[in-house]
Symmetry: C2
Subunit: 201 residues, 2 copies
């Protein structure tokens, strides 16, 4: 009977990634209050001490998890836009629709965001992270709007409005999915987008 290894040594990056994914799962399942060092360690199948070893503290792990999830969302949106072809207006619609359909409109994703928002209010250095990510999202949207013929002087205003419309719908959709019929939120967002754009074209 050969004794198998009690644990496996992993590459730092690989281990970091597995901790981030475990953290995301715990956040989704139990919410911000349940995302303790121990719960995350159990989910990742490692010892609690490893989180301190790799991230220095839970807050840093949650921030890293947010950055990771946010990157996945950005990827999914990019993919949806690419799949829409070359017509600028169709790409814009695809961006808005994808934001309000699975897998992005996922009530479990909201837990990650809520946990991060809590940190934004409590820790100034994390507020900077949020500003960066929000700015990146808006810049992407401004590019799509510009390609659709929105003049430069209205770009900021329209982009902020469309972002707010989508975010507000996304939030409510995640908080109480039963309020909306299948695809209703995405449809409302598309017609809202059309209305917001029509004023400057």
């Amino acid at each position: 009977m050969t004794s198998q290894p009690a644990f496996r040594r992993a590459e730092p990056d690989e281990r970091r990634a597995s901790l981030i994914e475990a953290c995301a799962r715990v956040l989704a399942r139990e919410g911000a209050a349940g995302a303790s060092v121990r719960a995350i360690a159990v989910e990742a199948g490692v010892s609690p001490g490893l989180i301190g070893h790799y991230f220095g503290g839970v807050d840093a792990l949650i921030a890293a998890t947010y950055a990771h999830v946010e990157a996945r969302v950005a990827d999914a949106l990019d993919q949806a836009v690419s799949a829409a072809g070359d017509d600028p207006r169709a790409r814009l619609d695809a961006y808005v629709s994808a934001s309000l359909l699975p897998p992005i409109a996922d009530s479990e994703l909201l837990s990650t965001w809520i946990a991060f928002w809590s940190l934004v209010r409590a820790r100034p250095e994390i507020a900077g992270l949020h500003d960066e990510q929000y700015g990146r999202f808006r810049a992407g949207l401004e590019a799509l709007l510009s390609a659709s013929g929105v003049p430069a002087e209205n770009l900021r205003r329209i982009a902020i409005a469309v972002t707010a419309l989508v975010d507000g719908l996304w939030l409510e959709l995640c908080l109480s999915p039963r309020t909306f019929a299948e695809g209703e939120a995405a449809a409302i967002a598309r017609s809202g987008l059309a209305a917001l754009i029509s004023t400057v074209r």
Copy 2:
């Protein structure tokens, strides 16, 4: 030397109200993570046991605090609408603008909402509370929209869109106030509202 009373007995309703207000202050100052039984009790100047006595648990107190703060917000909006006079369109603008100006656009208010959203995800009976309050807000907005000439068949769609626009702007404004110039969010909301309405009039 007459010894003064060590504490004052209060009417149940009065004490409940003071605990709710203390909870709101703690939420605003320290966020959801800092709203512990002890911190709230210190803020209210009472013993920790009183919270259990009146509310049964911290979660119930936070839910009551949310209901209270939400009622104050609803009052402030009603007042803004009334002050706008009789013109339906002006009332609508007042509603939207007030949502995005002090004291409603207050980054400390966001802490209360975040704490409550965390509970919505974790506790089903609180999710029902949220649905009620969201429905109440939207019903009020539908009345304003209807008075402004939005036809009944578009009421739900437009109300949801306007609510989302305002909520999304409110959220971002609270999360990073420095992103917006003074009054910019309110101005964007007003022009967005005009665009959303113009499609059905």
